[in-house]
């Protein structure tokens, strides 16, 4: 059966080029980079080369990169480590209602540690408006964490402006750039952020590795204590092949430049227009322009997401409804609800996220398969008047 992968926001296929550089470090060069013998030192060199490549993707310095086990750990590290190390400033944290659970839940958890947390509302597109932050920020605000690009609807926040507001107030600014890195330019200097999270498996790199950028001079506590790895900021024997793969994935992202972005934008346009033409009673969610390329988030009235996904799967199409991480949960997406979409409509959400290997045929196939699926489900829906 034909298969079409349209779930690149959940995870991306590992680039064979990335695999090529990882492979020699999986079996053959298995050495612990902290050992003193020459083979270990060579592994250490490769780890440091990878760090430089990741730094370069973000326009950071290598010393500003802490490798973590993924985006979730990077977010936890930034929030817990950043807030605790700077609690002298105050014990107030600000985040937004559209954050990934790795940020939102981690912030809320800090309430147990005596922090107060403000969850900013977002507008109908999922954006945090600068004036909302202006109003909520206080002298005691130690940390502001607002995502760069949303994983469900793709909306991009104006991080530069938001970071400026935080800095004017003397607060740290962290952004979860897990969905941004690899899709749009991520320049920590230009954004002016203090901390920024990335996950390799969202940019054609391996799973189990990510990083936190920490601007030089930023005080943060480590999350994992133990051996002095990662400049004492993240203990644990380094996941060497994954780090090396992440480095190569970062390098390939740089090499691709805006070419990939344009290719994906072209496909996305046809996908959107095709859906709009073929299927009535739909609502596209997310910002119409300020959006990462390739993310088509759409709600089909009268029907429910999981049913759609399973019927699509029957035809070899892989997509998601709401966040991949909460796909087992029965609640409607907190992101869509935060954007003011009703439960009923939010339940009918479908996220199609394009990636570098998608071709026009994939989009055409989706456009052929999706309309009858929506129609089939609508016909058995008690909410659909057309069916009565």
């Amino acid at each position: 059966m034909r298969t079409v992968y349209l779930d690149h926001n959940a995870t991306t296929p590992l680039d064979p080029e990335v695999y090529k550089v990882m492979e020699p470090f999986i079996v053959e060069n298995f050495y612990n980079p902290s050992s003193v013998y020459s083979r270990s030192r060579k592994v250490r060199e490769k780890v440091e080369e990878a760090r430089a490549k990741v730094a370069s993707l973000l326009n950071a310095s290598p010393e500003e990169i802490i490798f973590t086990s993924g985006g979730t750990e990077a977010n936890n590290q930034a929030i817990i480590g950043g807030a605790k190390a700077n609690a002298g400033k105050g014990r107030h944290i600000i985040t937004s209602a559209a954050e990934h659970h790795a940020v939102l839940d981690t912030c809320l958890r800090m309430e147990k540690e005596g922090f107060e947390v403000t969850v900013l509302p977002v507008d109908e597109y999922g954006r945090v408006l600068p004036e909302t932050l202006e109003k909520a920020i206080r002298t005691e605000t130690v940390l502001v964490s607002i995502m760069y690009a949303n994983n469900e609807v793709g909306t991009i926040n104006d991080i530069k402006t938001l970071a400026e507001i935080a800095h004017k107030n003397g607060s740290l600014f962290h952004t979860d750039a897990v969905q941004a890195a690899g899709k749009i330019k991520v320049d920590v200097k230009d954004l002016g952020v203090d901390m920024l999270s990335v996950s390799a498996h969202k940019l054609y790199g391996p799973k189990g590795i990510g990083c936190l950028y920490v601007k030089k001079g930023t005080k943060i506590e480590s999350l994992l204590t133990g051996g002095g790895q990662e400049n004492k900021m993240r203990a644990g024997t380094e996941n060497v092949p994954a780090i090396i793969g992440f480095g190569r994935a970062a390098e390939l992202t740089i090499e691709r430049g805006t070419e990939l972005e344009n290719h994906i934008k072209d496909l996305e346009k046809i996908l959107r227009e095709g859906i709009k033409e073929r299927i009535p009673d739909i609502i596209f969610t997310g910002h119409p322009e300020e959006r990462i390329p390739g993310c088509v988030s759409v709600c089909f009235k009268y029907i429910e997401g999981e049913s759609m996904l399973l019927l699509l799967d029957q035809r070899g199409i892989m997509a998601s409804s709401g966040s991949a991480c909460s796909s087992k949960s029965l609640k409607a997406s907190h992101v869509l609800l935060a954007m003011g979409i009703s439960h009923e409509i939010a339940h009918g959400s479908l996220r199609l996220s394009l990636g570098k290997d998608n071709r026009m045929e994939d989009v055409e196939y989706l456009l052929e398969v999706l309309p009858p699926i929506v129609e089939k489900l609508r016909l058995i829906s008690p909410l659909y008047q057309g069916g009565r």
């Binding site: 049913s307 019927l311 009565r388």
Partner: protein, 126 residues
């Protein structure tokens, strides 16, 4: 995740739609919890002669509705009322624990439809 039986019923749901001049109509659930089940029955001599459903919900909800209609079609009202949400789930070869709540609706909707029928019938009979 789902048993073969669940998938089979989900992909080919039995008895979907509505009944013209249904004798009883039942609906449970609401959109905020993610599932709505609507059941219509045609009753003759205390036997469910026809039954149709419409469901807004996940695969488990659709399959449960479909299975329920199969289980009760041709059964007496008394027998049909014995059907529990648990027996629907069992007939489907089990549901994932996280989805058990979805099958909770089908039998409830049927019960409401029977109640509705009884109410009308009682009136007519009176």
């Amino acid at each position: 995740m789902y048993s073969e039986k669940v998938m089979e019923h989900f992909l080919n749901p039995r008895n979907t739609g509505t009944i013209t001049n249904a004798d009883g109509v039942g609906e449970v659930g609401n959109a905020s919890c993610g599932d709505i089940m609507h059941i219509e029955i045609k009753v003759n001599n205390d036997v469910i002669e026809d039954i149709k459903f419409q469901t807004f919900g996940c695969a488990a909800a659709i399959a449960s509705s479909s299975m329920l209609t199969e289980l009760v079609k041709g059964k007496s009202l008394a027998e049909a009322e014995k059907i529990t949400n648990k027996s629907v789930a069992e007939a489907l070869g089990g549901l994932p624990p996280v989805k058990m709540h979805c099958s909770n609706l089908a039998a409830d909707a049927l019960r409401k439809a029977i109640e509705d029928y009884r109410r009308k019938f009682a009136k007519e009979g009176a």
